[in-house]
Subunit: 212 residues, 2 copies
């Protein structure tokens, strides 16, 4: 539901992080104002489409000169739920799990990785940037003692659903899944499935298209 009570389409939701990224870049380089025209050029959308997008959330005060960068960024932060912090765990400490744990960018936006879990005895007991890798056997115990908002699944494909089931049975309400299958979750649980192949196939689509 949007602020005005109406339904917000998937396409609009997916554009919000892109607006946010662009506004962050502008803010970092010291830009204070952005015109509708610049914003629409950068986003590859018409100015009217952008107004429509923003109107889903009540609209943001656009002055004669366009938008105030830091005000607009703050509004979009709130919409994206980035005005709070999240406790995160990662199940699967292989390459993807480790890459996510090593990346400090998410922390800057309020996503704090509290623990990793794995079944590999060589990994258990190690730590990545002071984040411990625990035995997967201790997952339930950990979740009982620590409030966790988001669980990342970065296990092999054939373990992902089983892990998702264990997570949701133990109170996890949001899953960010990197395994190459869509995990099924009970009603009331949010799952965001990342499919890197979708992005690769978009690239091969464009290569095919460019050669015609």
């Amino acid at each position: 539901m949007a602020r005005n009570g109406s339904y917000v389409s998937e396409a609009v939701i997916r554009r919000m992080p892109k607006y946010y990224r662009y506004l962050e870049d502008l803010e970092k380089t010291g830009v204070e104002r952005v015109s509708s025209k610049e914003l629409s050029q950068r986003m590859g959308l018409t100015a009217s489409k952008i107004r429509q997008d923003f109107n889903c959330f009540g609209g943001f005060g656009q002055q004669g000169y366009g938008y105030n960068v830091s005000d607009l960024k703050k509004e979009i932060m709130k919409i994206l739920g980035l005005d709070r912090t999240y406790n995160v765990i990662i199940v699967g400490a292989g390459n993807i799990g480790q890459a996510l744990a090593n990346y400090t960018g998410f922390e800057k936006e309020g996503f704090f990785i509290k623990a990793l879990f794995d079944i590999n005895p060589k990994l258990i007991g190690m730590s990545i940037r002071d984040i411990m890798i625990y035995d997967l056997d201790s997952l339930e115990d950990f979740l009982a003692k620590n409030p966790i908002d988001i669980a990342v699944i970065s296990t092999p494909k054939d373990k992902a659903q089983e892990v998702a089931d264990r997570l949701t049975r133990n109170g996890i309400k949001s899953i960010w899944n990197f395994a190459a299958i869509d995990v099924a979750v009970p009603r009331g649980v949010i799952a965001e499935n990342v499919h890197l192949s979708d992005s690769l196939y978009t690239l091969s689509y464009r290569i095919r298209e460019s050669l015609e």
Copy 2:
């Protein structure tokens, strides 16, 4: 350009890999036919939207009983450029680069990773699934001797543009970029930028929404 000569929207292009994924799953489980209704339920789209999507590419013969799974999959494979093979290199053999090199799923779809490149002396000379990690200094030499279709950038953010420039100067026409900035490329070069944070912020959006 679509087969009928008209423009295909970004949204349609982005949906094609999802159709492909779904049809692959159906084929694997031995399903031979899928009705428009099933397809539309699974995709979260109306049957008319799906027909519109397919019409961008000339439309696919839908019989009274719906679509033939393997025929439809083959058509979408062609559209996605998956009816050929691609030679791929990965620049940046850190966690993400190694995860991509270790993943065998892309190979099954015709994307063959031929080499990794890095500047870290500890990594140079090692190999991942028989794919060698070379010194980044030898990039130009390698590209002169090997026909490469796609270069993956999985370097730190601050090196990505420099690497993109080196790649395009040496004939690379397609870049799959995982660094946390959009790389700029010359006209005629295709860049697909992966922003994992967009997916994470979509998740936090839904969490925010679910708590309202």
